[in-house]
């Protein structure tokens, strides 16, 4: 079999990407605009020897995914705004217990029930900081149906490698868009870090990630969301131990920022640079396409968390970064933290994308 051409919806592509990556468990709950992923998994997973279960709420969906992940299965869930908020507690649990899992968030307008059928990028900070306490996660942002497929498959590899929840932070536009996709005949499949029997279950290797002692193999692993020592035993009143554990959970991701970074650079010698992720990428691409005579810089980010701050330095002549987002400037604030030049946030709320004219006007105003 060779790669084939398809015309798919973004959500379907994400589900197919997960299936290609060997996802064997999906615990879901219906929520617009992510439901197609659950529907597709419900149809396809049982035929491939996997398990689809519709849980009673999102709290339970993510819980079942974490439980399934500990049996060694690749497990995922998909949700949107309100469901994502409900998942937060157990996402913190997954970060603390270093459970690999993939969470697709097809973002919609918030807060609260907001705009169920309109696009937004308002959960970008929530996915990074939403659960209580300090931790770090990985978030990927696709901007096309092709990337919905590719990045979902990649998310599983990253989740396994770093033993961390990985988010596919897409939005309603990309999730419901239909476009051409080239489906590869196979995707890369890297496993979880191997556990050496007889060693301590939460003793990290050189990359700060411990081996994965999955259930059912006789390792006798105790998994707890309490602060635990390297044996996995709760030890919640030792200040040094807690500090070291949380520091490691954050460091294992942040020290890998360069390795995790996934971005494209257009016109690196430009003076004004657009930075975008997700759906606004398409608008910026249109602006560049419409004005071939202008030097429009573009940093197009796929791995938003951990944010690849080193990419900003690639634009040596940059005078200004312009960040169009479907929120009130969440990642713009993160960029401001790293950038040495002014950052202009171009927020857009309401569910519609920026028009190329709007973005070009911002660019031209500074030219």
């Amino acid at each position: 079999m060779t790669s084939r051409l398809e015309f798919w919806q973004g959500n379907i592509a994400s589900a197919e990407g997960a299936l290609a990556a060997g996802c064997r468990f999906f615990g879901g709950y219906p929520i617009t605009p992510s439901t197609e992923i659950a529907e597709h998994m419900a149809a396809k997973l049982p035929k491939r020897g996997g398990v689809f279960i519709q849980m009673e709420d999102e709290l339970a969906s993510i819980a079942s995914v974490i439980g399934a992940s500990w049996t060694g299965a690749r497990a995922m869930t998909a949700t949107s705004g309100p469901g994502f908020s409900l998942m937060m507690e157990n996402i913190g649990y997954a970060a603390m217990t270093e459970t690999p899992c993939v969470i697709v968030n097809v973002q919609r307008g918030g807060p609260s029930t907001g705009q169920p059928t309109m696009a937004a990028q308002g959960d970008m900070m929530q996915c990074r900081f939403g659960s209580h306490g300090d931790y770090a996660i990985i978030a990927l942002c696709p901007a096309s149906v092709q990337e919905m497929y590719d990045l979902t498959a990649k998310a599983f590899n990253l989740a396994d490698k770093y033993r961390v929840p990985v988010f596919l932070m897409t939005d309603e536009v990309i999730g419901h868009m239909r476009e051409r996709i080239i489906v590869p005949d196979a995707v890369e499949h890297t496993g979880r870090p191997a556990f050496v029997p007889g060693t301590l279950p939460f003793k990290p290797g050189a990359d700060l990630v411990p081996g994965f002692p999955e259930f059912g193999k006789g390792y006798g692993t105790h998994v707890t969301g309490l602060t635990h020592d390297e044996r996995g035993y709760p030890c919640a009143t030792n200040p040094g131990l807690h500090a070291a554990l949380v520091k490691r959970l954050v460091d294992k991701i942040e020290s890998a920022t360069q390795k995790l970074a996934d971005f494209d650079v257009v016109n690196p010698d430009a003076e004004q640079v657009f930075i975008a992720y997700g759906a606004p990428v398409r608008t910026v691409q249109q602006v560049i396409h419409d004005h071939p005579d202008r030097k429009i810089g573009f940093l197009r980010v796929r791995t938003v968390w951990p944010f690849p701050s080193h990419a900003l330095a690639l634009f040596k002549n940059a005078r200004r970064f312009i960040v169009p987002e479907l929120n009130l400037g969440q990642i713009a604030r993160e960029i401001e933290r790293h950038a040495k030049v002014p950052v202009t946030s171009v927020p857009k709320l309401g569910g519609e994308l920026h028009t190329p004219g709007e973005l070009y006007a911002v660019w031209e105003a500074g030219a």
Binding site: M55, I66, W70, F215, G216, K217, P234
Partner: protein, 267 residues
């Protein structure tokens, strides 16, 4: 092999207060698991948050100590992803009936092949004795200082109504009966729910006129009404005292179950 072999000896003694009944329930559950002859690598204990939920930390098998109320949802994931594993859930009344109530009724409805042992101490013990959904009317807790005014949940009736295959209730005094009930629960395909009433001397007994552990045990023993006797009383048209609770095997049926290991599926 005895149930003592299932303990992580390096973790004992456990954190429970003197006289707490949770240790007794763990003994009975492990004795039943031991009697099943299950291999340690095929058995997983799952729990939520609370006094009862610290139990898996003292057991040598793979164990998952999860977030408050979600134990059944985690256990559902474990069981569905690998039906060969035997999954036993330890939970408490607050964990199961309050914050996890929705997961409880849905796990019963799905009739998923789990065995749930609920240590019902009628109080939130870990946080210092607040009223729970099973605190009997009139009982004193730190959040019901004038006596609880809310009616209490009957967890076993709830499980029966929601569709569990096996439901039994015993107490920390009836150790042999409890062990047998847990074993029957482990043998039964589908959702098995064993409610064990336990004494909490520190947070319940102290505020409710049980000055000694033994006083509360005596109360539990004296107010347990065997199901057979209850049925007889009902038949004779006699009144059942309101402060008594029914103990015994309350339900055994074979509704279609989920998450059975491949060999267990009957045609």
């Amino acid at each position: 092999m005895s149930f003592e072999d299932w303990f992580r000896q390096d973790r004992l003694p456990h954190i429970y207060c003197a006289g707490c009944g949770n240790g007794t329930i763990i003994n009975c559950t492990l004795a039943a698991v031991d009697a099943m002859g299950w291999a340690k690598e095929d058995t997983v204990f799952v729990s939520g948050i609370g006094c009862s939920s610290r139990a898996p930390g003292y057991i040598v098998t793979d164990s998952l100590h999860t977030t408050h109320g979600r134990a059944l949802a985690f256990a559902t994931g474990v069981k569905m992803a690998n039906p060969k594993l035997h999954v036993v859930v330890f939970t408490g009344d607050g964990d199961l009936a309050a914050i996890g109530g929705n997961h409880f009724i849905h796990a019963c409805r799905r009739n998923i092949d789990l065995t749930v042992v609920c240590m019902n101490n009628q109080i939130y013990g870990m946080t210092g004795g607040q009223g729970s959904p099973t605190t009997p009317r009139g009982c004193i807790s730190t959040t019901t200082p004038y006596g609880s005014t809310e009616p209490a949940f009957d967890l076993s009736e709830l499980a029966i109504a929601a569709g569990a295959n096996y439901v039994a209730r015993w107490t920390s005094y009836h150790v042999k009966e409890l062990e047998r009930a847990v074993k029957t629960g482990l043998e039964t395909p589908g959702f098995s729910f064993i409610e064990a009433l336990v004494q909490c001397p520190t947070n319940f007994g102290r505020r409710n006129k049980f000055r000694q552990v033994a006083d509360q045990i005596e109360y539990i023993k004296a107010h347990a009404l065997l199901k057979a006797k209850r049925d007889r009383l009902l038949e004779q048209g006699e009144r059942i005292p309101e402060d008594m609770y029914v103990v015994g095997e309350l339900m055994r049926r074979s509704r279609p179950a989920m998450g059975l290991a491949p060999t267990e599926v009957k045609p």
